[in-house]
Amino acid sequence: MTSTPPQPLRSWRERARTLYDRVPTKWLITGISAALLGLSAVLGGLNDVPATPIPQIEAGQPYVGERLTVTADRAALIDAFPEQGVRPADGNRLLVVIATVENTSNDPVRIATLTSKADTLLPVDVEFAQPATAPSAILVFDDGSTVSTVQPGIPVEVAFVWEVPADELADGDDLRVDLLDRTYQGDATVYFGDRFSDDFVAGYLAFTIEDLGAGSDG
């Protein structure tokens, strides 16, 4: 039988070093991460992030966007624009938002880039009678012509038109309309030219709907 040699007396520094050497590296990394996470939690890391509220834009107040400055004025219900050939299907009416759009860039800008998705104005919580959220027509107020392109430096008053079921909205109803903008994504490589995408809601407008009836007075 061999007797265990007596442990040599060690200072606390040496003991600490031995202990440190015996701790697996994984534990060290986990421990340090946990300490950092705990610290961030103590400093408010687990608090709820306040959501940035979407700003309300007053009717008639211009919103200066990436390429377009949009001033939305009013929302109305109308039976049809027969002279422009814009007639809803039976049982439907037209929801119209009237806005002035100015192109502040140096190139013509299309305001109806997609036929499926709205990209400038979008009424919220409205059941459309049309398949897409994009306006079914965008008309120039002055002459009733269809507009797809806004020229630089030429503000144009346009009517964004959506088809809605006749009982969906009524005179005096509140309507929220989101104003959408997009950000510059840079010069495209596969496609050509400047690319603007990533639609975001820049603000919203609160309108009270006016019923213009048959709309003969425009």
Partner: protein, 197 residues
């Protein structure tokens, strides 16, 4: 004390490196940009003269400016600016399967305006082109008056090309002096005609 002798091999290596760097500099500075590689092939034209590109033959007869325009289809749209009315005659040359006058633009300085589609069928903007049978009619551009009267207005250029994608295809460019043109009160435009020169 040892005397340092000039090692000619080191000198040659250094000079060789400098030469390689200079060549690399020349190469990187002369490499065509994306715009140069893919940009439109400019065909310089002149007012009143036919200009021919790969698949486009165009003659711009006149450029006028007016505050209001009365189009042949009865359209009379207002504008906060002025209308630059271009009378042109455009046809295809080699292929009429799908070409349109998709690119009709007026560039003034850094700003570009596209031919208005508001007058509907009263202009030849975006009209389908045929070989040898020209569409003759107006193009209308909506411009702010201060842009027309700006110094850059003297060196404006009218660009005509087949299809909206102008890359690596002919683009007819015609210089226009907008400053020299008188702003008329009103212009009545002719109906676009197919097959008349």
């Amino acid at each position: 004390m040892t005397r340092t002798t000039l090692n000619w091999r080191h000198v040659a290596n250094g000079a060789g490196l400098v030469v390689i760097l200079m060549i690399a500099g020349v190469v990187s500075h002369t490499t065509p940009s994306v715009a140069e590689k893919q940009g439109p092939i400019v065909v310089d034209g002149e007012l009143g003269e036919p200009a021919a590109g790969r698949n486009i033959l165009a003659t711009v007869d006149a450029v006028r400016i007016a505050r209001t325009v009365e189009a042949s289809n009865g359209w009379a749209g207002g504008t906060s600016g002025v209308w630059v009315v271009v009378d042109a005659s455009v046809e295809a040359r080699v292929d009429d399967l799908d070409p349109t006058l998709g690119h009709a633009r007026l560039r003034v300085g850094d700003t570009t305006f596209s031919a208005s589609t508001r007058p509907g069928d009263a202009t030849i903007a975006a009209t389908g082109l045929s070989i040898g049978i020209a569409w003759t009619g107006p193009l209308m551009f909506e411009l702010p008056l201060d842009v027309v009267e700006s110094a850059a207005g003297a060196d404006a250029e009218l660009q005509l090309a087949v299809d909206s994608d102008t890359r690596v295809d002919s683009m007819i460019v015609i210089p226009v002096d907008l400053n020299a043109l008188e702003v008329e009160q009103s212009i009545t435009t002719e109906r676009p005609v197919w097959g008349a020169r």
